[in-house]
Structure formats: structure tokens, C-alpha cells
Symmetry: C2
């Protein structure tokens, strides 16, 4: 028996989570997985209920669970709250406290949605790219940090970007291993592109050097390349299919994974996994809480549903169950069902549906 903690969060979080839970229950029955579901509070709803974006109780239950499924956090309602208590802090804290150092974000083009992108179809057709982002270090967590008053009376803000060799090795290993798995599945050669700014930042010089040493020592079967972050941001637009696995630090990963997601034109479709050293993980859609459409049954639940598939694959090693969900999602797209975010009004034969109808259609396919 295994336990999953669901944290719906704010904005569209509850709606998309309801659909994902339905799918999770169905797959649990179908594959006799013996999963137990619990729910808890994080983000703005947790602030409203307890004053804290990540209450101790939620953290304790997340530690006890085998996996966490997260909706989304944040919204204008909590923007004026003091920095240390904002919804985003809850998200950063749970990542840090659970040691979820490996964030996997897939930018995959669904062929049914090729027209939704602002990129020309030939540039992105068949795109399937994995970004491995370090998630518990770098400038997101580095100390010292803060805002201080200088002697001349003006203020100064400061943050510290820091990585040690072992932190780099740990995330590098995830990237190299996944590149091998992916290459095996696809029948291609394994390759990793490490993104840094080693021409300017010493911390990323150590990053680059460590990646080179790992490749030479343990991964001579994986082709390793290096790219500066500014160039990577350009190359993703120019020719994203040149990449298979990209690995980078917390901040560059934040930026590049959003860029890669947007290339597909379907950020409402993209799931993510955040894993610790034992493979325990938190799974969440790449998109945010979209407060502007919350509660209107307009949200796209597919990224959260696909996050369930990632959970089954990475934490529970249930590849068959994972693929069943992915196939069901592909099937509803084939049927022409579209939530607003992925609707191409110039295409014939599509049917606009709400969050609930989309979720139930996936369920019906299972």
C-alpha cells in the first residue's frame, strides 16, 4: 500500500485536481495499485486557514506520503502579504524540505496541437525535449540573501548563487541516466546539453567542469555539450530539436523550461516531476494557478492528469499504467476535444469543452 498526498492549492488548482483525482482512482482500480489518497493545504488556501503557506501538518504528511500531487499556488489575493508568508514560499519550502532536487520538465509537442504554437510547424514537429532543472540549490536557496540599508542610507538587495560539486554531480547523474533511458527507448544516441554561463559566473564554471569530469569518468556513452544560457535561449527558438536532454541550475532552468514549454504552444498540457534521491516525488503541472479563470470550469486539467502518469512512471514504476493515461489523453485530443487554451479556432471539427468535461472524457477512455 502506498499513500499519495494531494495538494490542490489556489486558483484553478481545485478544479484540475478534482479531475486528476478521478483519473487516479480509476487507474488505481484498473491496475490494482492499492494507492490511498489524502488531501492537504498549501499556498494561499493554507495561509487563509493557518497563516502559513506550508503548515507543519502538510509538511509532515508530505514526508510520510510516497508521492505528492500538487495543483498550483498563488494569486493576487495574497500578493500584499509579507514576503516570508507568500504562497510561493510554501512551494519553495516543500521542495527544499523534501529534498526534491531533480525537476524534470518535458516539452513535448502533441501533433494534434501543432497549430497552437507561435513557432512554425516544421521547427517544432515531433519535439520531445526533457529539461532537468536543479531545484533545491543555486540562487533560489543561497545565503546570504536579503535587503539591507547601506551607510549612505540607500538600500541594497542581494542574493547568492551557490553550488557545490556534490550538488552538481547529483543532478548531473539524473540527466545522464535519463538521457540513456530515453535514447534506449528511442533507438538513438544519448546526449545531454549542459547550460551555464561559465564565461561570466564562477559558480557555473564549476558546474561545467563537474559535468565534464562526470562524463569522462562514468558516461563516455553519452555525448555531452555545453551552451551559454543566453545562446540556449536563442537556440531553443531557432532549432529546438537539436536538444534531447538539457541540464541546468535552478534559475536558468526556471527560465528555459518555461520557454521550452511555450514553444509547444500547449503549456496547459505539460506535467513535471520533482524527485528526491530515493525517487520519491512531487508531481505538478508546469502552468500556474491562473486566477483569472479560476472557478469558471475553463481550465485545462490535462497537465495535472499527465502529472499523474509521471508519478506512476517515476515513483511507482508502473509504466503500463502511465502509458494508459497518456494514451487516453492522446485519444481525447484525437476526438477533437479542446479546452480554451489549446483551441485553434481556425481548425474545423474541434469541440470546445470545460475542465470537467475534458477530465471525464479522459476517464471514459480508461
Amino acid at each position: 500500500m502506498a499513500t499519495i498526498l494531494t495538494l490542490a492549492g489556489d486558483g484553478i488548482g481545485p478544479e484540475i485536481m478534482t479531475q486528476a483525482i478521478d483519473v487516479l482512482k480509476a487507474i488505481n482500480d484498473k491496475f490494482s495499485l492499492d494507492l490511498t489518497l489524502e488531501s492537504g493545504l498549501i499556498g494561499g488556501v493554507a495561509i487563509d486557514a493557518t497563516g502559513e503557506p506550508l503548515p507543519d501538518e502538510t509538511l509532515a504528511r508530505a514526508r510520510a506520503a510516497d508521492a505528492v500531487l500538487l495543483g498550483a499556488v498563488g494569486g493576487p489575493k495574497w500578493d500584499a502579504i509579507e514576503r516570508s508568508k507568500r504562497p510561493e514560499r510554501g512551494l519553495l519550502k516543500i521542495r527544499g524540505e523534501l529534498g526534491l532536487f531533480a525537476n524534470l520538465r518535458v516539452a513535448k509537442l502533441y501533433s494534434q496541437l501543432a497549430n497552437a504554437s507561435s513557432i512554425k510547424p516544421e521547427i517544432i514537429s515531433g519535439l520531445d525535449l526533457l529539461i532537468v532543472r536543479e531545484l533545491t540549490g543555486g540562487i533560489y536557496f543561497g545565503e546570504p540573501r536579503g535587503i539591507r540599508t547601506l551607510e549612505n542610507g540607500e538600500q541594497q538587495g542581494y542574493n547568492t548563487m551557490v553550488y557545490s560539486t556534490s550538488e552538481i554531480q547529483r543532478i548531473g547523474k539524473v540527466a545522464f541516466e535519463l538521457a540513456k533511458t530515453r535514447a534506449q527507448a528511442a533507438g538513438t544516441a544519448a546526449k545531454v546539453c549542459s547550460v551555464d554561463k561559465a564565461n561570466v559566473l564562477e559558480v557555473t564554471e564549476l558546474w561545467k567542469q563537474t559535468m565534464i569530469e562526470m562524463q569522462q569518468a562514468d558516461y563516455s556513452d553519452v555525448a555531452l555539450s555545453h551552451m551559454y544560457a543566453d545562446n540556449a535561449c536563442m537556440q531553443l527558438i531557432k532549432d529546438p530539436k537539436q536538444f534531447d536532454v538539457m541540464v541546468t541550475g535552478n534559475m536558468f532552468g526556471d527560465i528555459l523550461s518555461d520557454e521550452a514549454a511555450m514553444l509547444t504552444g500547449s503549456i496547459g498540457m505539460l506535467p513535471s516531476a520533482s524527485l528526491d534521491e530515493s525517487g520519491k516525488g512531487m508531481y505538478e503541472p508546469c502552468h500556474g494557478s491562473a486566477p483569472d479563470i479560476a472557478g469558471q470550469d475553463k481550465a485545462n486539467p490535462l497537465a495535472t492528469i499527465l502529472s499523474v502518469a509521471m508519478m506512476l512512471r517515476y515513483t511507482f514504476k508502473q509504466e503500463e499504467a502511465a502509458q494508459a493515461i497518456e494514451q487516453a489523453v492522446s485519444d481525447v485530443l484525437d476526438d477533437g476535444l479542446r479546452t480554451l487554451d489549446i483551441l485553434d479556432s481556425s481548425e474545423a471539427g474541434l469541440k470546445q469543452v470545460g475542465c470537467k468535461e475534458m477530465g471525464q472524457a479522459v476517464l471514459a477512455k480508461l
Copy 2:
């Protein structure tokens, strides 16, 4: 009389500089500008000659000059050199020493080149976006920085991202003022989007707060919006025309300006200006030294030639001369001349030309 120091640098630097100098001389005669040209060493060629990427003599002459025109620096030949002596260090040092805190990068779509982009034409047609990047602060220059050995024997790399209120105000002022000038010229309302990661980094929380205060105190006629860097990176792909002036720190500016340039599909066309508080500046193409095509007469000289136009506009206040150059560039594009980087092989009636032929064609139009 005014003096311009030209620093050709490495890779394609000398070729593109030769063409830009021809244009500069012609415009000097035509508009009786009384400009004197000198040349100096920076980057790899300076390392080869003196051991330093920015020799003292070059720095002294740059200080004495009224403007600097730079080609490009760096190349694989100098990659193995110790960090503090690499070509890029020369570039960072001259920016810092001359106090060139305001980097202006224009991402403009040349309608003649609309097909060269990987973005769909309707998304970028008419794009003309200015990125104002802070260039002498932030994590590029912050201390402490380095790589140290920890007690447990492993290494740790660290850099510091730091901004004070006065640094933010200084670059904010440039952005607000330019937004007003641009709006006046275009007959539109002035707007600035400030890019930060205030939900995570304290230093950018101060950035955001300072921008808000400036707008309230002095720029109530400019609409100010804020965007997180990851979202900005997405929005640039989704709908770049929502922006007019973007202002951000050194590192986010490095990444976003390259992204914006790539949207146009013509990074070989884009100039930049780096200005100090008095308007003195260094002007350079946005692209790099392209060692792979160096010395083969394949490079596109237009970004460097357009950098001359920016110099005439911002440092010498010669708007008419600046426009004459810009018009000449547009004319040669109308004539169908294309260097390899901007050649669309599916388009009829184009003529592929080398660096020299392109430069001389612009000259002929003047």
C-alpha cells in the same frame, strides 16, 4: 572634433569592422562631422599581443575617446586560458571601467526578412522592441565571487547578485525616458515592462519596488508593468508585440535580449549601444565573433554598420546621419542583397553576397 576608437577584436570582427569604418568615413564626409578614427586591441588579439584581454593602453584610449565601436571578441583559441585573462573579461572590464551601465538592444523585424524567423509571421510582423539591460552591476560584477574548497574537501562555486537603489534608479530613468521618446515618435502611449523574479529573489524585489516608486514620483505618464523573468521568456514567444520597452538587470537582460533578437530571425542585423551617464558610449553588434566563418568573407556587416547609426544618434546627436545609414541598409535589403545568415533560399530574386559586397553596397547607397 570628436574621436572614435574602433576595436575590431576577434573572429569576424576585423571583416565587419572594415565595412563599418568605410561607412563611418563616408558619413563623416557627407555630413561634415569632423570625426577622427583610431584603432586599438581588445579580446583574443590583445591577449596574443600583450597577454591582457584589455590592455591598459586600450582602456586609456577608450577613456579619452568620445565613442567606441566594437566588433566582437572571443574564440576557441583562447578557451583554455586562465579565467581572469579570457577575451570575455576584456569586454566585461571595458564595460565596467567606462561605467557603461545602460545597454540598449533593439529587436526590430526588417519586413524584408520576415521569413527568416522561426516564428510565425503574424506574431512578429512590425516588431520593434527595445530592451534596456543594466550592464555594470548585478551578478556579473557582484562580490564575493569565486570557487573555494569546503571543509569536507569538495569545491563550491559562488556569485553574488546585488543591486542598490541608486543603480536601479539610474537604469530605470533611461528606460522611462526612452519609452517617452519612442512613444512620442510613434504617436502611442509610453509603456515600460520591468522584468524581475521578485517572488524568489530579494534583490529583484528591491528592483521592482524601486521601479514602482520612480513611476509614481516622476513618470506617471508612463504605464509600468512587471513580469517574472520566466513568464517574460514565454511571453516574448507568445506575443512579443505586447512589449515596447523592457527593462531588467544584467543577467536576465543577457538572456532576454538574445531571445528577442532571435525572434526576428536576423541577429546578424541587430546593433546595440552601451552608454554611461553622460551619453558617451560603446557600440557593437548583438552577435558574437562567429569563429567558424571568420576570414571567409561570409559575415553580415549590417549589425556593425547599424551600430554606427546608433552611435551617431546617441553620442553625437546626429539623427539625420543615423537615419541615412538606416535607410541605406533598408535599401540594400530591398535590392535583394543577402548574406548567408539572412538568406531565405525559398524566396525568389535574392542575391547572396559576402561581407565585403554587402558593406560596399551600403556605401554606394549613401
